[in-house]
Amino acid sequence: MRKLTKLGAVAALTVALSSGAALSQEMDGITIGFLPGVVDPFYQVMELGVNAAAAELGITVITQIPPTWGVEVQTPILDAMVARGDIDYLVIAPTDKDQMVGPLQNALEAGIKIITVDTFLGDGDYADGPVTFPLSYIGSDNVEGGRISARGLAKAIGGEGKVYINSTNPNVSSVEGRAIGFNEVMDNEYPDIEVIGLDFNLDDMNTAVQQTAATLERVPDLAGVFGTNVFSAQGAGTAVVNAGLGGAVQVVAYDATKFAIEQLREGVVSLVLAQKPFDMGYLAVSFAAADAAGVTSLPVRVETGFAIIDIDNVDDPEVARFIYQVPE
C-alpha cells in the first residue's frame, strides 16, 4: 500500500516535471495559497520547496505564516485568504485535525481545492476516512516517524530499559502520530523496554525541563526520552544533562533544525530525526499543477520519508543535506 502511494507520487511528480514547460503555459492562471502551521524552520524549509516548484512551473504563490500555533490564529488567516477570491489551491498544514475541518470545508465551498501538508484532517485517510474532501496529504507518516524514532532510541539504549515521552499539545495529528508509532514499536518489538509516561508541555520549554527533571526523580533508571518536537527534546535534554545523565540517558529529537543539530553537537540530544519539508512543499505545488492540468490519478497520501542524524553521521554531506537550512 505504502509502496503504491509512493509510486503514485513519483509518477505524478514525473508528470508535473516532465511537462513543466508545457504546463507553465497553462498554469499562468492558477494561484496557490500556502498556509503552514506556525513560523518555524520546518515550515520555512517547506516554503522553499513551495517557491522552488512554483518558480519552475510559473505559478503564483501567496504565503501567510501564522505567528503562533493554533486554530484560533490559523482560521482568520485562512478566511482572509479565501476572501481574496483568487486562490485556486490551498496548501495548508491544519493546526488541528478536527477543528480545522469546518473552516477548510468553507474554503472548499468557495471553490478552493485543498492539499494538506505535514498535518492532516481526520485520520489522514482521504480515501476511506471520515474526511475525504482534501485532494491529498503530503507529509511524513508521523506514525512511521515515531516508529523510526523508537527503533533509533531502542538501539541507542541497547534494547532494554525505561523510556519517557515529552510532547507539546494533545490532538495535533503530527505529534500524536509520533507518540502512537513510538508506543507501538516499543510494545511490539521491544518487550524489555517500558514506556513509563507522556507529558504535555504546552509548547513551554521551561515546563518540558521541569517535567523531565521530575520524571528523572520518579524513575531514576530512565534510559531514554523521546521529544516529539525540537523544543520538547531540547527541554528534556537540558534536564538530562543537568542531572548528570548526559550520554547515559538518550534523547531523541524530532526535526532537524539547526538548533537541534547544535544541541546534538553539544550532547544535549543524541538522535535527530529529519523530516523532508522541502519535498513536502515541492510536491504539494506540483500536485496542484498536475490537478489543474487534468491529472486525475493523484495519490491521496504521499509520505516523504525520514533521515536519522546522530553525532557520527552529522557531518556526512548525504545526511547533512536534510538539516533544515533556512536562508537568514
Binding site: 505567528p67 503562533t68 509516561g197 507529558d199 521551561n206 521541569q210 521530575a214 526523580e217 520518579r218
Partner: protein
Amino acid sequence: MAQPDPEAAAKAEFAAPKTRSTTDQIILSIIQVWAGVFLAILILVFVISIPLVSGSSVSFLTVRNSQNILVAITPILLLGLGQTFVIISGGIDLSVGWVMSFASVISALALREAYNAGLALPLAVVVGFGTAVIGSGFVGFLNGVIIAKLKVPPFIVTLGMSFIVRGAALLMSENTTVIGLPRGVRDYGNESLLYFIRGEGGGFYFFTKPEISGEMLRRMDRIISYPVLVTVIVVAISIFVLRRTKFGRHTYAIGGNREAAVRAGVPVDRHIIKLYMLSAATAGIAGFLSMLRFTAGSAVIGDPLLLSSIAAVIIGGVSLFGGSGSLVGTVIGSLIIAVLTTGLVMLNVQSFWQFIVVGAVVILAVLIDQSRDMIKNKIETR
C-alpha cells in the same frame, strides 16, 4: 513662643484602643500565613504520597528535586517580582511575558555579535545581560511614560505593548529562535555554585565542576545554579527595596492613596515610570537567564508565563487593588506552582491537574483576602 502647658497636658484619650478577641487573633494570624501553610501541606502530601504511588525508592525531598524546583521557579518568580511592585502601586503589567521573550532574543543577538566581534565569552555574556536589562527597561520606560504622563490605564498600555514587543521579538529573531551562540554559554545557564557528589568518592566542590564521568555524574547534585543565584540576589535586593527604602515606601503610598502621595510631594509620575521599568527589567533578566539556560534566544519562551506569574503574586497575598502585599508572598506563590508541577509529574498524574489546583488556589487567595478585611471590619465596629 508658647510652650505647651504641662497643666493642660491632660492627655486627651481618643477612642479606646481596639481589642481583638483571641479567636479573631488566631484567625488573623492563620490568614496571614495561609499560603505558607498551604505550601507546607502540599509538600507534605507529596512527600507521603509519592513513595506510595511511585515506589519506596522515590523521594520528593531530595537535594536534586529542591534544586529542580528552584530552577523551575526562576522565570515565574522574576516576572512576579516586578509585577508585585506594580500591583502594590495599584497598576498591572501585562507585558512581562513578552518582554521576557524579547529580552531573550535581543540578549542572544547581542551576546553572539559581541563574541563574534572578538570579545571574550564572559564579557560577551555581560553584554548580553546589559542588552537584556537596558532593552527591556526601555520598553518599561515607554509603558510608564504612557501610563503616568498620558494617563492611559495600565491594563491597556501594557496589553498593547505586549503585542508590540511580541512582534518585535519575532521580527528580530531568526525564525523565532536565535542560535549559533558560542559554546560555553550553556555553562553559564546550567552550572552552579556548589556541587555535591553523593556516596563513594563524593563530597562538596565549590565553584568548579568536578572532573568526573559516567556513573559518578549521576550522583552529582548541582546546588544553586547560576540562574538561581542571580534570582536569589535580585529577590533579596527587591525585598530590601520594597520593605526598607523610600522607593518601597512610595510604592505602597501610591497604591494606598495616590492623591495623598501627590499632595505629600511624592514624585508620583516619575515613580510610576520607574516601577514599570523595574517590572520590565526583571522580566528582561528572566529572558536573559533562559537564553543562557537553553543556549538560544527564543521569541516565544516567556509567552506562557504571564498568567502564572500573576497567579503567584495573587496567591502570595498581594491585593489587586493595590496598597498591600509582600514579596515573600510572591516567592511562596511561585513555589506552590512549581511544587505542584514537579509533584504531579512524580505521581505520574497528568500535569494539567496543576492548572485546576492553581486556579482554585488563586480564587481561595482572593476569598481569604476578603475575609481578612471582613474580620478587620468586624473588630473595628465592635
